[in-house]
Every structure is written in structure tokens, then in C-alpha cells.
Amino acid sequence: MDAAVRELTYAQAIQEAMAIAMDMDERVFLMGEDIGVYGGAFQVTGDLVERYGADRVIDTPISELGGAGVAVGAAVTGMRPIFEFQFSDFATLAMEQIVNQAAKMRFMLGGEVSVPVVMRFPAGSGTGAAAQHSQSLEAWLGHVPGLKVIQPATPHDAKGMLLAAVADPDPVMIFEHKLLYKMKGHVPEGHYTVPIGKAEIRREGCDLTIVATSIMVQKALDAAATLEGEGIDIEVVDLRTIRPIDRQTVIDSVKKTSRLLCVYEAVKTLGIGAEVSALVAESEAFDYLDAPIVRLGGAETPIPYNPDLEKATVPQVPDIIAAARDLVKGVR
């Protein structure tokens, strides 16, 4: 098979990245609930315990606060832990260690230490797992100086950004949408990194910029493909990192297209869309805008169990198509 078109799923790409990181650096190890023989709740660690042993693929008790703290402590003292939360929702139990300790330790100690910990958070709705297993909390952590927060949207980036995260001296939080785990895409062999802090233009266009995160990138591309048939030419920016955010790529894109639509799954208000809108409004791109900025985000509700309600809670392709069309046609 042609190596250039080798395809892996998003989950396999992450697993491969973790294996490469462990091969390259004996300080790297994995911690989390049921990541050993069970293979992880979403089979991301898979058989890594068989390949690297239970000393490097450590099942923790159900103790998120303690577990995250142990990872922070190990990171500060020379190890390179990759800590898996079984669901991103359980970050709420570990907020103390993430927000008060991991994020601030280097700062509080005047730069005497660094905290090279990586934390992985399976996130998002669409699995029927209801209100406590479906949230998108990335903006919570995005609000904390000291953390880096990324949302890879493709298998390629899932691997490359994880390897960049492991190499990074500071704490990196990776939000992985659960519905992406089975997505297939081209993933190069071997070690490579995708930089943290750089957005990627997934599709070039001149009528409208859609800034999307995570699973919304693919939905935005689907919407753009449909609208192409109507003569609407959309540029899709995959933000990839929400802290530190890549202002320049967003600003340059909006200067080119003069219209901005932000699409993200998390609750709409006080979220990533507000940040992206504001950074454009504060920049020289403001003068280029031909239409109000529009945000499409999650409804102001916890994620409901009923599948139709669940779908209606977060932006879907038809919602993106409708919003983009209205923006370009000047309905807004």
C-alpha cells in the first residue's frame, strides 16, 4: 500500500502517537481509568498495556482529582505523563489540580519548575449519554493562563498535535470529540508534529469565513460543499488551538472574505465564538466586515438524552448552511 495514503482512524492515530512518544522517551507514561486491559472507554489506548506493560500504562482507581494531581507531581519532577480522563466531563472533579496547580505552578515558583503534563479529554455530544457525559468544556480551560488547549479535528492532527504536546514543556489539554474517534484520514508514519497555536485553512474561499473547532470543522466543510453548488465560496478555518489562539490567520481570512461565522459545539454564550468575534472586532479586519458577525453554538441547555433533542442542541450541517447563506445573501 502506498505509504502516502495510509489511513488510520482518529483513535488509532492517537494510539500511534502515544506509542511513538513512549518509544522515543522512557519518561513518557500513560495514566487513566480502565486504559489497561479494557483498552480505554473508547479503545484509544487499545493494546498498549500489552506492548508497554502495566508500569507504563497505569490503570488508576476512580480518583480524578488525585490522579490528575499525581500526573502533575510526576511531571514537575521529571516524568512525562499523559493522563486520560474517561470523559471530559470528569475534568470537573479535577479542576483544582488542573487550574490551581498545573496551570500556575511554574508562574508561582518564578519559573523554577515546568509542568510537562498532557491531559486528554474525550468530549462532546451525539452518543446518547445525556447531560453528564456529553459536555464541551474546552472554553473553561481555555480561560486559564498557563494551560495550552487544543482540539485536533483530523486523524493527522490528532497524532501530530499529541506529539507536539508531549514535547511541550507546559501543560497541554487535548479535547477529542468522541464522534471523531472513528473518523478515518491520512496519517503519515513515524514521528512528526503539528504546531500548537497555529490554525489551518481547510478550504479557501472568498465569500465568507467560517471559523470552526473540532467536529464542526467537518460539518463546516460539508456545508461549504453544498453551498458551492449555489455559487457561494466559503473559507473554512480550523482553529485547532483555542489557547494560545491564532489571531492572525483568523484576521487575514476575514479581511479576505469580509464575513465571519463561528461554529462550535459548546454552549454558545461566553464561549470560543465570543472570543473569535471579539478578536476580529478589535482588529483591522473590523473595517472589512460587510455583515454582522454570527455565532452558531450549542443551545443554552445541558445535553438532553432524547436523541432528537440532543441533535437539536448542537449545530448541524443544515444549520450551518442556512446561517452561511443568510450571511452571504445579506439577509442578516
Partner: protein, 342 residues
């Protein structure tokens, strides 16, 4: 006639606790409910396989005696907090299977109006404050309910169900301590089925018996065979008496086993087929209780058949009710987030 009755009473004197404490009719009712829990979960599982229910679910098949035994001495207005494996607790506390099925089908007639599903099943009117998607999430809430009971002098007792995995969360330890220092009317029930997902208690927990944790919070810690209804009910009865008398909390560890995988995506790679089969064949809680009832002359085969038939009908009716119920309107998406104002 009088002599015959005396003979029955005398013969009961040597029987295990529940046979002395409860009437034959009540005990037959317990068997009925154990079957109801089992068949409800089998029915839910089948509906899931057929694509009628989405998401996931955690079945408590094999743990029915624990739920029933703990709830046996509770009054209707006593309260419980439950877990992700909460269908049995819900039925044991008095819920109707029809409204539970409706919830699983995501319908407005469900206990949570289709918003919660299996993982958040509740029946507030019957004192079930809800299952919980967060391991150990319900434990402090139970302590809070017990604080209400004490402050409002309602006399209510609160039971907090949780699994063995939950005993390693901070919430467990913080909650037990507060319950102890304030002598609250709460009973902590650890249903130890040997595993938290794939992780055995031997690998996750520093003590052999979770009941030993009680010593750290100066409360009684009791281990019972969770598959023997009478043992569980006796321990619960004593803990309820203690709580009602204002003497404070108890930790009961109910040792049991789940026959099914952790959830619908479990491949059972962390335990052997032999282990599962042994528990199913030799320690099934319904079989054990049914045999006892029969041996002690509380029921005959005809009576057992009648219970099974009645349960089968209740389950079939429940599923029909759920299917026929309306789904929520999309326009109601943001309902119940906050309290509605008139």
C-alpha cells in the same frame, strides 16, 4: 386452627431474619419485585439491541437482592440516591416500570420527561433522588438530604447507594466524615460487585473490605452477602433503626456480582467466563431467595409461576406504554434548565 398457626410461628422462630420480620405476603411481594427488576433489565436490553433505545445502559442483573434488601425497611418517604447502575434501586423504591421504559424511550411520560434516560432515572415522588452519571456524585447529596431531615425534623432516613469504585473518590470520604460528625440519619451502601468497570477492588482499593473504611469515620461498618436477601435486609433494618434513633450513619458493604458487562460496550476482558458462569449458576440472588421461600413453605411452584406471569405482563404493558407515548417537542429544548415562572 389456633395450634396450627402457633406451629407456623414457632417454626418461623429459627428462620433467618426476614421470615420472622415480614409476612409471607410481603415476602412474596419481594420475589415479585426481584423478578420485575430482572425482567425490566432484560426487556430494556432487548429494546436496546433492537435499536429502540439509544445511548448506553448499565444493568444490575445479579444484584437484585441488594437493592430489595436495602429498601425493605425503608418507608415510602425515606429517600435514596442511586448510581449509573440504578434500575434496581428505582424499582425497589417503588417506581413503575412503564414510566421507566418511557424514560428509556426518551418520551415525555418518562420519569425525567425524556431528558435523563437510563443514567439519570429517578422517581422523586417515591423518594428516589436519582441515578447519577458521576461516580460518587450522589453520596454527598444523600448527606445533604439527611441534613435536611435533621434540620426539618422530618424523621426521614436517607440511603446512598454507590459501587466499590466510588470508594476511591474524594466525595466518598468527605461525605462520610460529615455524616459522622453531625450524626446524620444516612446509610451508605456500597454495592461491591468486585469491579469498577475493568478494575478489580484488589487493584483499586487498599483495604480488603470497603466496610473497613467505616473505622476512619467512627461509624459501624458491616459486610453482608449481597446476594442473600435476608442478610441484606437485616443489616439495613438495623442501620435504619440506628439512623432513626439519631445515632448516626452506618456503612454497609453488600458483596455481589454483575452478570452483564459494565455497559453495552464491555468485552469482559478483565474477568473469566468461568467466574461469570459460577456466579450465575450458583449464587443467583433470585434463585437463592426463591428456593428459600419454597423450602420454608412460603410459596409453591404454582405461586412462583403466577408471579412470573404477572411480571411478564407488566413488562409487556410497560413497553407498549413507552412506545405509545409522545416524544418531546423540539420547541421545549430549553425547558427545565431553570425553574419556570408563572
Amino acid at each position: 386452627m389456633a395450634t396450627a398457626r402457633k406451629a407456623v410461628v414457632d417454626s418461623r422462630a429459627n428462620l433467618p431474619f426476614v421470615y420472622r420480620q415480614y409476612s409471607p405476603e410481603q415476602l412474596r411481594g419481594v420475589l415479585h419485585k426481584m423478578y420485575l427488576i430482572r425482567r425490566f433489565e432484560e426487556g430494556a436490553e432487548e429494546c436496546y439491541m433492537r435499536g429502540l433505545i439509544h445511548g448506553t445502559m448499565h444493568l444490575s442483573i445479579g444484584q437484585e437482592a441488594s437493592a430489595m434488601g436495602i429498601c425493605m425497611p425503608l418507608a415510602e418517604d425515606d429517600q435514596i440516591t442511586s448510581t449509573h447502575r440504578g434500575h434496581g434501586h428505582c424499582i425497589a423504591k417503588g417506581a413503575e416500570v412503564s414510566r421507566m421504559f418511557a424514560e428509556f424511550f426518551g418520551k415525555t411520560t418518562g420519569y425525567c420527561k425524556g431528558r435523563g434516560g437510563s443514567m439519570h432515572i429517578a422517581d422523586v415522588a417515591k423518594g428516589n433522588l436519582g441515578a447519577n452519571g458521576i461516580v460518587a456524585g450522589g453520596i454527598p447529596i444523600a448527606v445533604g438530604a439527611a441534613l435536611s431531615s435533621k434540620m426539618m425534623k422530618t424523621g426521614k432516613v436517607v440511603v446512598s447507594f454507590f459501587g466499590d469504585g466510588a470508594n476511591n473518590e474524594g466525595a466518598f470520604h468527605e461525605a462520610l466524615n460529615m455524616a459522622a460528625i453531625w450524626k446524620l440519619p444516612v446509610i451508605f451502601v456500597c454495592e461491591n460487585n468486585g469491579y469498577g468497570m475493568s478494575t478489580s477492588t484488589a487493584r483499586s482499593t487498599a483495604v480488603k473490605n470497603i466496610a473497613e473504611r467505616a473505622a476512619a469515620y467512627s461509624m459501624p461498618g458491616v459486610v453482608v452477602n449481597g446476594n442473600i436477601f435476608s442478610e441484606v435486609a437485616e443489616a439495613s433494618f438495623k442501620a435504619v433503626e440506628r439512623a432513626r434513633a439519631g445515632e448516626g450513619p452506618t456503612l454497609i458493604e453488600s458483596k455481589t456480582y454483575r452478570h452483564r458487562g459494565h455497559s453495552k460496550s464491555d468485552r469482559n476482558r478483565y474477568r473469566t467466563k468461568e467466574e461469570i458462569e459460577d456466579w450465575m449458576a450458583n449464587r443467583d440472588p433470585i434463585t437463592l431467595f426463591e428456593n428459600e421461600l419454597r423450602d420454608f413453605g412460603f410459596i409453591d411452584d404454582h405461586g412462583i409461576e403466577a408471579i412470573r406471569d404477572a411480571v411478564a405482563k407488566e413488562i409487556a404493558d410497560g413497553i407498549e406504554f413507552a412506545k405509545a407515548s409522545p416524544a418531546p417537542e423540539i420547541a421545549t429544548l430549553e425547558n427545565y434548565v431553570y425553574t419556570e415562572h408563572a
